[in-house]
Symmetry: C2
Subunit: 327 residues, 2 copies
């Protein structure tokens, strides 16, 4: 539903004003998929922490104003649940703040249905809300629970770890591009579903608690999000392009477009995670249990930054402007 | 900072679409100042619950776009902390989602300062955030902690309870009116402070845990918010106008204007609470401890609705359109 991409660099700047040292009450502060808040006094690493995450979606930026409200209700919650999944947290509750230009009962009913169907599937309850008149804006804050010691964080990757990704990549970014080009009506339902109805990988996140080391959900694009893991973990990563699971909808596209969409397209809401090689069999067994494809696509290495290797093992460079194309 | 008041009736309607029966995971769902979320398994009424509340502020509606950003940062957090105070909850953490039309570093620095000074005073930590380009919109979700059994709820008032209010009322609404009329420059600093820098009554809320029965924070206006307590508690209330603590800034105004501003002006962010008469002395002792005026202004009675009595004890009617004037 992305109508146009952020100027990421500029808005990353903003973090500077709000990023302070994580205080004692927080197990983990700003900079991961969700913050971890200790519950109770004298908490140990085995006691539950609360994972808290918030996302604001603005019409004309994150979605087109005439988007199907049922999809919008689903996606507004899904992007938050995806953050909880990336922490290995079990969703518990969420709040909804909604600014609306007008009160359209049919729109609201459909929006609420899309949101609640997803919420009910994950046992996540609407705990509070606020509604006001204003430009169409949706802000959801989701709260989940995870034992602090097993939460999946961005800063835990270690050299030698396998790099894994769930699902297939690129279809959502392709659907966005086609829709913006006025070719949305010709899109296959599978690509629209990937864009409008992403499935937060909650079951996978829970199953990975004791198997994965670091994790992040893919919202900005594989290479960019992998870069966040590398930066926070102070490691590098080698990515094998030939192993990246590219969505079948992209099969007919030229390779440079497939690369751009699958590596930097964004909006996939799959989980990217690292794990020790001895956990390969246990992770492979999750494919059936969690009903999602899991693919090894690279390795964590000492150093810094993400290197992409082509089918012949050669390092290839990505352009700086959003990694749109190989050079 | 209210630029214009909501059409409350219309936006109340929206609740219908989101208001479902509080589920088991929630001690208390939508309809109070904050939701209460159980922590841990097998929680008892003595174990901590989390109080969660969210507010969305939109430029041109809740504040003027050129408002002092330091005040805006303060107030955006203050209105949420006020909700926690009304639950008797201790603030722990909050999330901030911010849509900005442009990235103005000086504005952001000042906004963050206003927010953090208040947050630090109450030991409340920024746990996460989201920033995006869009019409200036601020959404804060605040999380506090309170033993479930002593949380101050709207639905606990009982006939015979005293009705109490903190502070003085009406100055914020008067400052809004004067500012909208272009007379903002002539406003005394005390009235501007009441509007732009409301002090959430956290210490009072904590002190009232075992003394008050029902509580609400005053955002919509005394009579309207008291009506919420009556409705949820299935009781009526008799309010003595002569006892209502009207802000001294309103002393020179005609009585009908003082009544309108103090009873229906809104934006006071004081606490309105009910308590058994045997707690009068204990509550009066909180004035010094919490450094805030506390005034008995009426009584909870059987029945329904709010009756206002004038200095001679006569019931007076309020007009339906926002209670602007006595008839």
């Amino acid at each position: 539903m992305t109508a146009s991409r952020e100027s990421v660099g500029e808005f990353e700047l903003i973090r500077r004003f709000f990023n302070r040292r994580p205080p004692v009450a927080l197990e983990l502060g700003i900079g991961d998929d969700a913050a971890l808040l200790r519950t109770g006094r004298g908490s140990t690493l085995d006691s539950d922490a609360l994972a808290v995450t918030t996302d604001m979606l603005v019409a004309g930026r994150h979605f087109v104003a005439d988007v199907d409200p049922e999809s919008l209700g689903h996606k507004a919650l899904a992007v938050n649940l995806s953050d909880l999944a990336a922490m290995g947290a079990r969703p518990e509750a969420f709040t909804l703040a909604l600014a609306l230009p007008t009160v359209d009962e049919s729109w609201l009913e459909t929006f609420a249905r899309g949101m609640f169907v997803l919420a009910d599937r994950h046992g996540c309850e609407l705990a509070g809300g606020d509604t006001t008149r204003g430009p169409l804006t949706i802000c959801i804050t989701a709260i989940g629970r995870v034992p602090a010691g097993v939460a999946l964080r961005r800063d835990r990757a270690e050299p030698g770890d396998d790099l894994w990704v769930s699902g297939e990549l690129g279809a959502a970014a392709w659907a966005t591009r086609e829709r913006l080009a006025g070719r949305g009506a010709a899109l296959p339902g599978s690509a629209l579903a990937r864009l409008d109805r992403p499935e937060p990988r909650i079951a996978l996140g829970l199953a990975l608690r004791h198997l994965a080391r670091a994790a992040i959900d893919l919202s900005d694009g594989l290479v960019g999000d992998l870069g966040h893991v590398c930066e926070r973990s102070r490691v590098g990563a080698q990515l094998r392009w030939a192993d990246v699971p590219v969505a079948e909808e992209l099969a007919a596209l030229p390779e440079d477009e497939r690369i751009a969409l699958a590596l930097a397209g964004g909006d996939d809401y799959e989980l990217l995670f690292t794990a020790a090689p001895e956990n390969r069999a246990a992770i492979a067994a999750l494919v059936a249990r969690c009903a999602v494809a899991l693919t090894r696509i690279g390795t964590i290495v000492p150093g810094a930054g993400v290197t992409v290797r082509d089918a012949r093992g050669r390092a290839v460079a990505l352009s700086s402007a959003g990694f749109e194309h190989f050079r």
